[in-house]
């Protein structure tokens, strides 16, 4: 059974998602006028993995995530989470947690109240707010206005919002941007713990060092095209670093 199921070889996989990929992107294309931001990309993710979506700036990483999250509509193709378009999910916040920008807050609202607006909209009990604030170590700053938060605190508040619904899938766009080394370390171990519970993480980055130690597999995109989808172990098998493999793959496209 396991050998015939393409999505069943992930560690700590949840039974409920055995038959269906958590994320299924097929022939996904997004054009803005003459510019093709995402060009015919296909990949899928199995549960219980941490996947890095890598590529240079402007490669189409963020656009792909926006399409997955229903913030933009594909020109053609599909981007499905749990087999559905994001907008069709019954309880999106309980299924998918996502952070696209590090500063999506009203500066005059407190961290706690920011989470309250999201919890109310998603019908999540307000008791959960203190739990997620604890989880990201923001309990002390919860009643301060976001205006006074450092970039690292904002990143963590965004993450707290994504965790409100205890989702099975986390989608984070450049979550390590602006974090200090201790923050990056904290984030990496957090994501690994999260996936070890059978949940799935998709994280984008243009800085390989941030993700190299945290991800099981990578989706590499360059100028809108899918370069490769591979397990990190596979890419680095013959002694190459992930960086070597990445540069080779993306440079190959350039020449």
């Amino acid at each position: 059974m396991t050998s015939t199921d393409p999505y069943s070889h992930g560690a700590g996989m949840a039974d409920a998602t055995r038959t269906e990929p958590v994320i299924a992107v097929s022939a996904l294309t997004k054009r803005y006028g003459d510019v093709v931001a995402v060009d015919d990309i296909t990949f899928s993710l199995r549960a219980g993995t941490v996947t890095g979506i890598l590529g240079p700036n402007g490669a189409g990483k963020t656009t792909t995530l926006r399409l997955l999250l229903g913030l933009a509509e594909p020109t053609s193709g599909q981007a499905l989470v749990f087999g559905q378009r994001y907008a069709e999910l019954n309880q999106p916040v309980r299924q998918v947690g996502a952070v696209l920008e590090s500063n999506d807050f009203h500066p005059g609202r407190t961290g706690h109240n920011h989470l309250r607006t999201l919890a109310l909209a998603a019908k999540i009990p307000e008791s959960r707010i203190d739990e997620v604030l604890d989880l990201v170590n923001l309990d002390q700053a919860a009643n301060r206005k976001v205006r006074g938060y450092s970039l690292g605190m904002r990143q963590r508040l965004g993450l707290a919002g994504a965790l409100l619904g205890e989702p099975q899938l986390l989608i984070l766009d450049e979550p390590a941007n602006g974090l200090d080394p201790a923050g990056v370390h904290w984030l990496r171990s957090f994501l690994q713990r999260y996936a070890a519970e059978g949940r799935t993480v998709l994280v984008s980055s243009h800085i390989l060092a941030e993700v190299a130690q945290a991800v099981d597999q990578v989706v590499i995109i360059d100028r809108g095209h899918l370069v490769t989808t591979a397990d990190v172990a596979e890419l680095t098998r013959d002694g190459r670093t992930l960086e070597d493999a990445y540069l080779e793959l993306t440079d190959g496209e350039h020449s």
Binding site: R66, L69, G70, L71, A72, E73, Y86, A87, L89, P92, V93, V96, A98, L100, E101, N103, D104, F105, H106, P107, G108, R109, T110, N113, H114, R116, T117, L118, L120, A121, A122, K123, G158, G161
Partner: protein
């Protein structure tokens, strides 16, 4: 209560935006009423319509600030990027726009009622202090305050709908202010276009409060027209938001 509505109400309550707008509105209402009430010659303030000219600016300011409130609930989300978490929590965008317009219209109506009450109090005491007989009866006052509340609520919906189309905060707020304070008064002053001007949304709001009955529509006609404007703006805003990419 509906979850999206509750979330929108908490958004209103958890920043100082509404309070700031409310204070600004009250200050300007007082200033406008006092300027008109103290400076217009007494012999020009003998009749009811003329006296209403002292009350009118207060109503326009109430309407304007309600419109700004309605617009800011939407433009602030784009400006600060909270539109992303908002739409991730409620991906059905029509629900979000509808909840925003409904909460703004309710709070905006409160703005209009408050502006009307402050206008009535300030204008009445100013004229009385100058020894001018007040010609307005209680139905004039009721219409001024209640009509002002309804007009402001509907204009909050207009502001919300238009801002969902334009999304950028500064142009939207400047546009609404310019329209209500400048364009509409030009339309009203110009005899050749006054026939058209009285069908404009600001003139409909003024008609609703009983202003200038010789020139403006009857209050009921003003109400119906303003409801149509508000509905059209809300629908257009919802439609514009439905499929547009959020970057």
């Amino acid at each position: 209560m509906n979850a999206t509505l509750r979330a929108e109400l908490v958004k209103h309550r958890t920043t100082r935006t509404d309070l700031g707008l409310f204070s600004g509105m009250l200050g300007l209402v007082l200033l406008a009423v006092l300027l008109h009430g103290l400076t217009l010659p007494a012999d020009e303030l003998a009749s009811t319509p003329r006296q209403l000219m002292v009350f009118g600016p207060g109503q326009i300011i109430g309407t304007l600030f309600a419109a700004l409130l309605g617009a800011m609930t939407i433009t602030a989300e784009y400006r600060h990027g909270t539109i992303r978490p908002t739409l991730l929590a409620t991906p059905k965008r029509a629900k979000v726009v509808a909840a925003k317009i409904a909460t703004s219209a309710t709070i905006g109506a409160g703005f209009g009622l408050a502006a009307g009450a402050v206008t009535a109090g300030a204008a009445t005491s100013t004229l009385t202090a100058r020894g001018i007989d007040i010609q307005l009866d209680s139905s004039d006052y009721t219409q001024l305050i209640i009509g002002g509340g309804i007009a402001a609520g509907l204009w909050a919906a207009i502001g919300g709908g238009l801002s969902a189309i334009f999304r950028h905060q500064v142009p939207t707020l400047v546009g609404l202010s310019a329209w209500l304070l400048f364009v509409e008064s030009l339309l009203g002053d110009n005899d050749t276009i006054v026939e058209v001007g009285r069908y404009a949304p600001g003139a409909a709001a003024a008609a609703l409060t009983g202003q200038d009955p010789d020139r403006l529509l009857a209050p009921t006609a003003g109400l119906i027209l303003l409801i149509m404007y508000a509905t059209a703006a809300a629908l257009a805003g919802t439609r514009a938001t439905a499929h547009r990419d959020v970057t």
